[in-house]
Every structure is written in C-alpha cells, then in structure tokens.
Amino acid sequence: MRFPLPQISALHELRRVVVTGAGVITALGRGWKINAEGFRAGRAAFRPVTLFDVSRQRAKSAAEIDLPDDLPPTRLSPKMTRRVHRAGRLLLLAAHEAWTQAGWEPEESLPVVLGTTSGEMSCGENYLLHAVSKPESQKKQPTRVVQYQLHRQGLDLCEALGFQGPVTVISNACASGSNALGQAFQMVRRGGATRVFTGGYDALSHITFAGFDSLQALSPTSCRPFDRERDGLLLGEGAAMLALESLEHARGRGAEILGEIIGYGAATDIHHLTQPHPDGDAALAAMSAACARAGVTPEQVDYVNAHGTATPQNDATEAAAINRWAGYRATSLPVSSTKAGIGHLLGAAGAVEAVVCLMALRGQWLPPQAALDAPDPACRFRIVRKPADARINIALSNSFGFGGANASLLLRRWA
C-alpha cells in the first residue's frame, strides 16, 4: 500500500541508503571502468552529429554514443528486443551493468523510479512523419505509439530483468534524473521499500537538438562551463542506473557497497520557464535542503559536481548559489562540470553525474573539467582543471532544469 505510508520513524531512526550497483553509458564509453577513466582524465567526447541533419543548425556537434549492435542477454524475446529503440537501449545497457554489479535477484515487487525528459522521442517524430506523409497507412504506427510512451522503457526494463515494478517516471526537465534518485532515496530511507532501482536516460533527438538550438543555448564552439567566454551547452546522450538499498539489507546479503546517498533537496524557481533567477535562490534552497537532510554543513563537502551547462545565465546563477551556500568555504571548494566532457544529458544528467560522484568517492580523485580557458570571476570557488588525487568524503551533485526544477544530491564515500 502506497498510502497510508509505511511507518515513518523519527529522523534518527531513518534508514541509511547505500548504492550497491551502478551502470553507466555515455559518449565516453559503456560501463563504469571506461567512464571512470575518462572522467578522471577529463576527456571530451564530442563529434559532429550523425543521427539527424544539423546542416541548418547553429551548432553541429554533440556527444553521440556508438551503440553496440546487440544488447546483453536479458529475458526480452528477440521480437521485444528489436522494438527497443535508442533511449530504451541506453537504459537497458546501464541497467544490466548496475543489476549485475549489485548481484540482485528478481522479486515480485521492486520499484523502478526513472527520470527522462523525452523518453523515446524519435518514435514520436516518426509517428508524426508517417501520419502526415502516409495518412492511410498504419504500418508500424501502433509500435511507435507504444514505444513513445515514457513508461514503456521502464516496463521493458522490468521484463528484461524479470521483475514487476512498479514503475514511476519523473519528467522534470533536466533535473529529472536527480529527482528520480531523490525520490528513490526517500522511498528506501523512510521504509517504503527495501530496494529501489533508479536512474535516468535520454537519447539525442532531432526535436530536442533543434529546440536548444532555437534558443541559441547550444554552443557553436565548445562547451566551457564557468568560462568567462562561455557561449552555450552541447548536448549528449546516455543513461545511468543505480541499485539502491537499505544498509541493513545490503549488509545482510554481504553486498559490496559503492557509496551512500545521504541527502536530497528540491526546490522550484518560479522566475521564468527557461531562465533561472539570477540570485539562485532555488538552487541555494535545494543544496541547503540536501545538507539539512543529511546533517552536513558546506564545510564538510569535498567536491561539487555542478550542473554547469555553460550557458551564460545558468552558470552565473549556479555560481552565485554555490558562493552563497558555501560561504567562506567557497574559495577552497573544488567544483567541476563534467558536461564539458559528455555534454548535457538532460534527463540522464543527474543520474550520470551521481555516478561520477560515486567514481570520485571510490577512487579518491577529483573529476577535472574537460574545457576551461579563463574562469568567470563570479566563481569564488576553485574549478578543477587537471586530474588530481584527493581525499573526498562527501560530494554534492546539482541538477537544474527548465520549469525551475532544482535538485541536489549528497553522496558519501563508503569506507
């Protein structure tokens, strides 16, 4: 029963939430190892877009993924597998890695909480093209309808790994992935579930690329978050999935623990549909709420994975918010945006960047930012520019989206 809620205990009795599996796919490659190497080195993975025609767009590049021809073996039939499109494939690849790493077995009820901005948008595009160009033909149209629906990818995930869900899909623009992880964290923390499978995914699509290009939010040069001369973001695609479970449950089955989620905060910026308020009040509120929930002060945070899209307004707002939140700690606080390497993954961003934080916490290194010429003087914090080992105990990940969706996650090293 979802409501009445399971018995909610006082704060000191809330469950600790640990990550026992993580899977990731980005333009840097498929899997934890190759991505960890790429993020540690500060590699960039942009190239000219090949998935659709961008000859009439201002921007021409994105962090495209070379998808493997085959998916890993799952319980999906060959026919069902063939129907899984690009976004669903990204999700399944990340999910399979996380599932395998966690060593989870299917059970009847295993909640899935996903974040995405557009799911299988290319199926919607193809539906419209077909409906207009061949109005009397229904060939493949039912499949396009089904695959376009955001929950379909979640149900395919359940079928592939042999469990029943339930499936919840959050679409809060570019904060979707963080909101999904945050909601999953809350479910385990308050006892509503022992395990939750959560993450985010998004594939490049023509409509999204053209949309960001129409807003002149895409960079015609390079993605340089927090740079004085930054001129926009570059899009990417990818997915990350995390196996969350209560510490008690993980210990009970002898699972390897990759890290701990200790805080989550969300707030809404009502200034404008696409532009954040320059003061960054909502970002500050999200970061502060995550810290309050974790009982952590900014002085205890060792690294911030910024939302850092490289648009002039977003970065100025986030810089103001981090400056205010961190206070005197700001001048020594390491911050970077890994979007400089893999682009903006939209609904996948929050989940992938949480995995980057886990990698940094486990490896004890700071993810350098792949591109930065001259830091914006508005940034009082230190932008990580070169690969470096470091003692990191707690990392914070920010995600901010259209519609004013602001979310922050706090992760702690498991030692």
Binding site: A10, P135, Q149
Partner: protein
C-alpha cells in the same frame, strides 16, 4: 511518529462537461455520454470524433499572468482546475504541485516539430520551452508563487493516483504545507489518431482534474484513506492479475459505499476491471463512459467524482479503481471526512 491524516480540501475539474466540478457532477448524474464532436485529421476526409473541453464561460482572469499568456490548453486547464480546487487558498510558498499526464504537451510539440521539418533554422524559440512535460506544473507554481517541490509524473491513468501518494508523502515529511495534484491531457489530432489504433470505439477527450490535499480537516470534502500499490502490467502479471491485485488491497463492499471505476463501457478493455470487481454490487460510477478517454485527466475526474459524490450524496466511502491503458492497475479510497472525524 505515526502516519497522520490527509484530507481533500478542494476539488477542481475542466472536462467535456464544462468548466467546474458542478457541471462534471451534473453530467455524471445524468449518466449519458456527452455528444462527440468532429476534429479534422490532416490527410483524411472523415474527421476524428472527440470530446473536447467547451469554450470557457468567459475570459479566464489567470490568463493575464505573464507566464500564462502564451501557454497552451494544457497549462490553462491545469491552472483552472487547480485554482478551483484551491478555492482561493493559494498564495503560500509551500504549496506543492504534482502533475500527471500521458501524452504530454502534444500541440506545441507537434507545432514545433513541424517548424523544424520546414526549416530548423527558423523554428520558434518561443514554442520549444512550452513543449517540456513539466511546463504546466511550472506555470502553475509560478502563478501560485510557490517554490515548494514540484513534480511531473508521466505514465498511464494510474500515474494520477501515484501522484496522490507522492503528495501524501510530501505532506507527511513536511516538504509542503499543502499539495495540489492534477491530471491533465490536451486535445490534438495526434492523440485520438493514436488511440484509434488500439480501440475503434474509444472516444478521446481532454481536460484536467485537481485534488487539493492538506492536513486540515476543517471543511474537508473527504479524507484520502488509501492509495494501493501500483501493479504493473507485464508478461508475468497480465492486465487481469494487476487489476485483481489492486482490488485486493481495497476493502470488501460495505453498505453506503461507492465504486468509481475506470470502465468505458467497452467490453474488451473493461473486462479485467469488471472481473476484479465482480463482487461489488453497490453503487458504481463510470466517468469515462460519460466523458470519454482522457488518460491522466480521466483518473483525476474519477477521484474528483468520488469525493464529490461523498459530499453530495452522503456516501460513507468511495473506492476508485484505475486499470490503466497499458502500464498499471492501482486504486484509492476516500472516506467521508464528517462521518469518520
């Protein structure tokens, strides 16, 4: 700390019956399908048959808000339903917003993609931001001046009930002081065109329904007593099994209670729900049979109708059954706040 109670402090609806809960109730009392209207379908001589929201009785005052002047029907219906539910109780920075939908902001998305196909270099930057799923929720939060958590859930009809449970969680954890939960869909030829591929008899409709949840029992329309688990429709748990599992989490029939079902009066799609609830011999409402299929909005209308029936007809409780299009079966239970206070 035990779970405290959650009350339904307001209801709102925009539907093919008109603007407001009162006209929705009148249409459901009458229990006759609202006449369908024609909607042109490009490339076809024969139009689609749909049940759209009629024109509002007058210019909506909220349209003067800067965020809503260019917002489409989806945001307008969201705000109208929410404001009716709030009944002037807005104005707090801590009102949470949960919006659920299936198809998304289809009209603007289609328009933008058509512009992209013509020439992406001239596609409108004004339209694109309105295409994101959470645009309606964002506009509502801006209108209310609320910086509290705001979430858009996407899925079939059952997602509205998941939204009720999320709102209850936020209330319990004091993330919000109150929360308005909305289910909304809009009218564009693409959606009934797609629906027709799965059911020739179903008639697509559009609109929104809203439920305002608080911890305050004073003047409450009903109490949210339960939201069941969501049971996915998978190969191992088919539609009937999912419907039965959801039904099993709600109480057996008792005198003076109502069932508000998701049946459309279409035997094939109704079979699972009818079988799961075959033991129910008491009063039954079927809003979809009157209003048509509007996915998330339909589930919202079911819940609104259930609470409205408790208030107007004195039911002791109302169970809501949602057996969705292709994702989940889920249920909710509302009780008479006065009887159980």
């Amino acid at each position: 700390m035990g779970v405290s109670r959650v009350f339904v402090s307001g209801l709102g609806a925009v539907s093919p019956a008109g603007w407001g809960v009162a006209v929705l109730g009148q249409a459901l009392d009458k229990d006759e399908p609202i006449p369908a209207k024609s909607l042109p379908r490009p490339g076809w001589e024969k139009p689609l048959q749909v049940r759209p929201v009629p024109e509002p009785p007058g210019r909506q005052e909220f349209l003067s808000h800067p965020r809503l002047r260019r917002a489409g029907a989806m945001a307008q219906h969201t705000v109208a339903a929410a404001l009716e539910a709030l009944g002037g109780a807005g104005g707090s920075a801590r009102v949470g917003v949960v919006v659920s939908m299936l198809a998304g902001v289809v009209t603007y998305t289609r328009r933008f993609y058509e512009e992209v196909l013509r020439d992406p270099a001239t596609a409108s930057p004004v339209i694109f931001p309105e295409t994101v799923f959470n645009a309606p929720a964002s506009h509502l939060a801006a209108y209310l001046g609320s910086t509290a958590p705001n979430c858009t859930l996407v899925g079939d009809e059952g997602m509205f009930l998941q939204g009720l449970a999320l709102a209850a969680q936020w209330l319990e954890e004091k993330e919000v002081e109150a929360c308005v939960v909305i289910g909304v869909e809009e009218m564009d030829w693409l959606v009934p065109d797609a629906l027709r591929l799965f059911s020739r008899q179903a008639t697509y409709s559009s609109g929104a329904g809203a439920i305002y949840l608080t911890k305050n029992s004073e003047g409450a329309r009903a109490e949210l007593a339960a939201v069941t688990d969501s049971f996915s429709m998978t190969l191992a748990q088919n539609r009937l099994a999912a419907a039965r599992n959801a039904r099993a989490q709600l109480p057996l029939e008792a005198p003076g209670e109502l069932l508000c079902a998701s049946a459309r009066n279409l035997p094939r799609s109704d079979a699972a729900e009818n079988a799961a609830w075959q033991d129910w011999t008491g009063s039954r409402l079927r809003p979809k049979a009157v209003l048509g299929e509007a996915f998330a909005a339909s589930a919202a209308w079911q819940c609104v109708a259930a609470c409205d029936a408790i208030r107007r007809h004195g039911f002791a409780a109302a169970n809501v059954s949602v057996v969705g299009a292709n994702q989940q079966a889920i249920g909710a239970r509302f009780t008479n706040a006065e009887l159980f206070s």
